[in-house]
Structures are given as structure tokens and as C-alpha cells.
């Protein structure tokens, strides 16, 4: 996204395409979505991320019109959509199961929605051809869904949902059936299509890498509640809770007690250990805090580094070799385990540390995040 145009979510005058206002959804006495407030802007690629069962599909289904909120309102273009049935919404959904019509050919699947719009008959075939080209399945236009492979089916489902040029396209775990390599290729393809068509995409996923790759903004959900909505880099670098930090990537969570002097914070976290020094993210952070630091921001070394203030000695307990990098599980004298990651720039045989080695872990003042507890 070019830096010259301000992002709409930072622009107070921008009008959101979708607004959830205090939306709650209950199934019987089970609350699937609780008091949700969210604004999604035009041309965004918005990702809903959360563990299975946290209410992602339910949110989508409310947007598509298959579920109605128990309370609260959903606005599309400033208009309350609750009285509008699914067939009258300019929202299309790509289903998790693709939901292709088995009795129709690929061509007719894509034409299905167009035939039910007020598009003149003559233009339908052209539009379908355009869609077939977009998702690169022209060759299979006359096949039935069961005569094509899983990846091709997924493209048909995407083309079908895009054909009517909806204001909003909902994608419910669209790539979960694909293997990793195909999934990554398709992610870039999706971003490409989103840019070409200028449609607003809302994608559901439980794969954090996928969300980080495709999305302009990511919403992290937990048990029907929104934990954080932000750009992928902010979600990663400035999570607002231990839950978000832990959900997106790996993180060390250290609990302690902080005292602030001017703009530095000292965190007492274990008896007999030096305090952790950090910088203040907001004023008034005395008291119980949680210190979060990503494993790749921790440097592991044999000698005590002198260029930084946070240095701690520990013992290597376990090593997870991941190919490109290794995660070292280092135990502190008080029993706290800290994960540190190092790139394997050399071959395995010359790995610098091994089990039971005593090592130094170190990080800069700004490497971690301090959160109120």
C-alpha cells in the first residue's frame, strides 16, 4: 500500500463499508459473538483470524445474511442490512466447502448468479469468459465440478463469487483444502485479483501466516470477542495482549513488577536476577506487568555482550532444529524458560551451542513489549 494515501482506518472522515455495532449472536444460551464493534473499509483485504470455534464463520454468515444478530446492528454502506435477505445483498460468499452446483458445468456455475441479476443475456457469456480467464480455468468451462481437481474447484468457487462484482466478497477458509505450496501461490493470486477488481475482501482463516501475507488489516478473535484489529506488522510488533502475541508467532511471556524512572522501565522478574530494562510505551506503568519478547529478538552468545543492558545467563535445555533456524530453549536459574532463535547460517555440524551449554541471552531496551497485567 503506497504511503502517500492515508490508510482509511486512520482517517476519521473515511466512511466504512461495513460497520458492526455492538453485535451479539447467541445460539440458545451459547454466545458465539459478543458485543463486537468493527469497521471495515472499501478495498480492504480484511482477515479474521482466530482458533477454531471462535465465531469467524458466524460473523461471515451474518454478513451474508444466513444468520441474524441477536442484538446490535450491521451496516453496509451506512444501511442496516438486517431486513435484507441474502439474495438481495450485494455481498457474495465463497464457501469453505466451495458449495459448487454438482449438476451444472463450470461455465453454468459461474453464470448462475449473473442469470439472476439484471445483466442482459448477451453480456453474461462475456462476463463468464472474463472470470474464467481471471482464475485461469478456461480449459475446464464445460466440465462438471466432479470432473476437475480440488484446486480447480476452488478457483471456480472464487470466480462464481466474483462474477457479480459484489461490493463485498466473503472468503471462508478458502485455501484450507490446498497443500502448502499451492496455498502460497493462491494467496498471491488472491491479492492480485483483489487489486485488479477493487473488491473488498473479508477472509476467514485460522492460519496466521496466511492472514499476515494477504491482509491489509487483521482482526484477532477469541471466544467471540475481538482482541485486536491492526495491520499485520502492528499485530506482530505491537500486540495489545499476551493472547494476541502468543497467537501470532512465538513469544516469551515473562511476568514481573515494574518501576519507572523517566522513560525507562525496570522489571523485577526473578530473585537474584538483574532487572529487565525496557522503554515506556505509555505513562504510568508501575505495578504488575507482563513482558513479551519474540524469540528472534533475543541474541544468544557464549560471552557476555557489553553493548546492551539486558543480559541474562542460562543453560540450553532443548534445541528445536527448523532447518533455516533453530530455537534454543534456555532455562534461567529461577526455572523460567526463554526461547531464543538464531538463523542457521552455517551447516549443522558447526552449530555453536549444544545441550547443557551455559549461554548468555541478551536484547536491547526496545526489543520487548510491556503490558499491564
Amino acid at each position: 500500500m503506497p504511503e502517500t494515501t492515508p490508510n482509511p482506518w486512520n482517517d476519521p472522515t473515511a466512511k466504512p463499508l461495513i460497520q458492526f455495532k455492538n453485535v451479539t449472536k447467541r445460539f440458545g444460551n451459547f454466545t458465539a459473538i459478543e458485543d463486537l464493534n468493527i469497521d471495515i473499509y472499501e478495498k480492504e483485504f480484511f482477515a479474521l483470524l482466530g482458533p477454531s470455534g471462535c465465531g469467524k464463520t458466524t460473523m461471515m454468515r451474518m454478513l451474508a445474511g444466513f444468520e441474524t444478530p441477536t442484538s446490535g446492528t450491521i451496516l453496509l454502506d451506512g444501511q442496516d442490512i438486517s431486513p435484507i435477505p441474502p439474495n438481495k445483498r450485494s455481498v457474495n460468499m465463497m464457501f469453505q466447502s466451495y458449495a459448487l452446483f454438482p449438476h451444472l458445468t463450470v461455465f453454468d456455475n459461474i453464470a448462475f448468479g449473473l442469470k439472476r441479476s439484471n445483466m442482459p443475456k448477451g453480456q453474461i457469456a462475456d462476463r463468464v469468459q472474463e472470470m474464467l480467464r481471471l482464475v485461469q480455468i478456461e480449459k475446464f468451462a464445460n466440465r462438471k465440478p466432479e470432473q476437475i481437481s480440488g484446486g480447480q474447484r476452488q478457483r471456480v468457487a472464487l470466480a462464481r463469487a466474483l462474477a457479480k462484482a459484489p461490493k463485498l466478497l466473503l472468503l471462508d477458509e478458502p485455501l484450507s483444502a490446498l497443500d502448502k505450496k499451492l496455498r502460497q501461490e493462491t494467496q498471491f493470486e488472491l491479492m492480485d485479483i483483489q487489486e485488479k477488481t477493487g473488491t473488498t475482501f473479508v477472509i476467514v482463516t485460522h492460519d496466521q501466516e496466511e492472514a499476515m501475507t494477504v491482509a491489509s488489516r487483521v482482526a484477532v478473535m477469541d471466544h467471540g470477542k475481538l482482541k485486536q484489529v491492526d495491520t499485520p506488522d502492528r499485530i506482530y510488533e505491537a500486540p495489545n495482549s499476551a493472547y494476541v502475541a502468543d497467537f501470532i508467532g512465538e513469544v516469551n511471556i515473562i511476568e514481573g513488577h515494574s518501576t519507572t524512572q523517566r522513560d525507562t522501565v525496570s522489571i523485577a522478574w526473578a530473585k537474584g536476577q538483574p532487572e529487565i530494562i525496557g522503554t515506556l510505551s505509555k505513562p504510568g506503568m508501575d505495578g504488575n506487568v507482563t513482558f513479551l519478547i519474540r524469540p528472534e529478538k533475543i541474541v544468544i552468545s557464549a560471552e557476555k555482550p557489553t553493548d546492551r543492558r539486558n543480559t541474562f545467563q542460562g543453560k540450553v535445555v532443548d534445541i528445536a532444529y527448523l532447518g533455516n533456524l533453530s530455537t534454543y530453549y534456555v532455562q534461567m536459574p529461577n526455572g523460567q524458560m526463554i526461547k531464543a532463535q538464531a538463523a542457521n547460517s552455517r551447516r549443522r555440524s558447526s552449530r555453536p551451542f549444544t545441550w547443557e551449554d551455559t549461554v548468555w541471552l541478551s536484547w536491547t531496551d526496545t526489543a520487548g513489549i510491556i503490558l499491564d497485567r
Binding site: 439474495n87 452446483f101 480447480q152 457479480k164
Partner: protein, 272 residues
């Protein structure tokens, strides 16, 4: 491949003999020259000729086919609607009662169904005839249709219907253009079942049939009570022929469909 053993061969022969010897006897004696059913008098097709001349039989056959056709079509429509509501309607007030009532005729003795329908028709003053037979057959065969159709509905992915709504169909349009084509095989087999049940029915029809209309099973049954005639044998042979033709056609069509599906799946695999 299973191995051939004398035990298997004997059981197979006995089983087939048990099933088909009675029919074979009927077929053979339908070509009997003699009027005496149990005495072979040489080959002849004269009973078929006489059958064609027999107005009473022809009338009964016509009634039977009319009843079968009309009642099976109505039963298919009603049974499909009932199945749809039961499977897709979610929870509504009285759902359990409704489903129980739909399936009750399956276990109800036919005599009771027939008797209660008779009492109903008398009490509302409906003259017994072709209309009452059609109503009665619709009533008892629609539950069979509903069982067949609902088992298909249960096993199909709901989101396909939702996709149709999502793409701009009204609920009725979604049912017509997506649900119905998908469940069509079940609807057709439900209809065939209803048709067969109706053509076959003796008990219920004898309660509700009047002097103005008699079905073939009733006619056959009542004439057999006066003694089996070669004409009845000829009629039975024709019926056996029709049923055999139907069964063979049905099995060939299904087999073709299976082969075609396998072929298509292979093509999908090759398409990669």
C-alpha cells in the same frame, strides 16, 4: 473370485427355484390350449386374444393405471414437500408430532388404514370410485416417498442451497434450480415406489373402491375366487413381463451411471 462349490450351487438353485418356479408355471399355463388349468392341452395364444376382448379386465387395467399415475404424482409432490420441511425446516412447533404422523402409515396395518379411510369417505359423503382410490393411495404412498427423499436431503451439503441464495435466488428458485435437480434421483425412485405400491395394492383398494371403479388386483382376486382361469394366467404373464422390463431397464440405467461417474472421476484425476 469365489470358488465354485457344490454347496453354493445347490443353494443358488434352490433359492431361484423357490422364487421363480411359481411364476414359470403361470407363464407356461398362460399358453395352454385347454380351459382346464391343470391339464396341458398344447400351445396356444388364444387366452391373450380373449383377454384383449374382455372389457371388464380392460376397464380395471385402465382404472389401475390412472389411479397409479395420478396418486403417485400427487404423493411424490406432497412427500417431497414433507421431507423438505422435516429436514430443512429446523425446529418448529409440533415438528416431532408432524414427523411421527408422516411415518405412521408405514407401520399401520393396511386393514386399519383402509377401514379408517372408508369411514372418512362415508362420513364426508364422498361416493366410492376412482377418486376415493386415488386419495387413499396418495395417503399411504406419500410417506414412502418422504422417507426416500429425506434420506437424500440429509446427506447433501446445505451450503449448496445457501450458495444459490447468496447468488440471488429466492428460496423457491433455489429449491427449483438447485435442490430439486440434486435430489431428482431420489424423487424419481420415490415416485416409482409410489407407483408400484399403487399398482400392487389390494387391501386398501378393496375398502375404498366402489362399483363404478375396480382395480386390476381386485378384479384378479375376485375372479380367482371363482376358479383360476387361463385368462388370469395370461394377464399375470403380461404383468410379469412389464415388471421384468422395468427392473432390467432400471438396473441398466444405474449401471451406466456408475460407469460414467467412474470415467469422469478418472478424467478429473488426469486433469490433475
Amino acid at each position: 473370485m469365489r470358488r465354485f462349490t457344490w454347496f453354493n450351487a445347490t443353494s443358488l438353485t434352490l433359492g431361484f427355484a423357490f422364487l421363480y418356479i411359481p411364476m414359470l408355471i403361470v407363464i407356461i399355463y398362460s399358453f395352454n390350449e385347454s380351459k382346464l388349468v391343470t391339464v396341458w392341452g398344447g400351445f396356444s395364444t388364444k387366452w391373450y386374444g380373449e383377454l384383449v376382448q374382455n372389457e371388464a379386465f380392460l376397464d380395471a387395467a385402465l382404472v389401475t393405471f390412472k389411479v397409479g399415475l395420478v396418486s403417485s404424482v400427487i404423493a411424490t409432490i406432497l412427500g417431497t414437500m414433507a421431507a423438505y420441511v422435516l429436514v430443512r425446516g429446523g425446529r418448529f412447533y409440533g415438528r416431532t408430532l408432524f414427523s411421527g404422523m408422516i411415518y405412521a402409515p408405514l407401520v399401520m396395518p393396511e386393514v386399519i388404514t383402509g377401514l379408517s379411510l372408508l369411514l372418512l369417505f362415508i362420513s364426508i359423503g364422498l361416493d366410492r370410485g376412482i377418486v376415493t382410490i386415488i386419495l387413499a393411495h396418495t395417503t399411504f404412498s406419500m410417506c414412502y416417498v418422504s422417507v426416500v427423499v429425506s434420506s437424500r436431503l440429509v446427506s447433501f451439503d446445505r451450503s449448496v442451497e445457501e450458495a444459490a441464495l447468496d447468488l440471488g435466488c429466492t428460496p423457491f428458485d433455489a429449491f427449483r434450480s438447485v435442490t430439486l435437480p440434486i435430489i431428482a434421483p431420489a424423487v424419481i425412485s420415490g415416485w416409482l415406489l409410489a407407483l408400484t405400491l399403487s399398482l400392487d395394492d389390494l387391501v386398501i383398494a378393496s375398502f375404498v373402491a366402489g362399483p363404478s371403479a375396480t382395480t386390476l388386483p381386485i378384479k384378479v382376486f375376485s375372479s380367482v375366487r371363482l376358479g383360476v382361469s387361463p385368462e388370469i394366467n395370461a394377464l399375470s404373464t403380461i404383468l410379469i413381463g412389464i415388471v421384468a422390463l422395468g427392473t432390467v431397464t432400471a438396473s441398466i440405467t444405474t449401471k451406466r451411471a456408475v460407469v460414467r461417474r467412474r470415467h469422469e472421476q478418472q478424467m478429473a484425476v488426469q486433469a490433475g
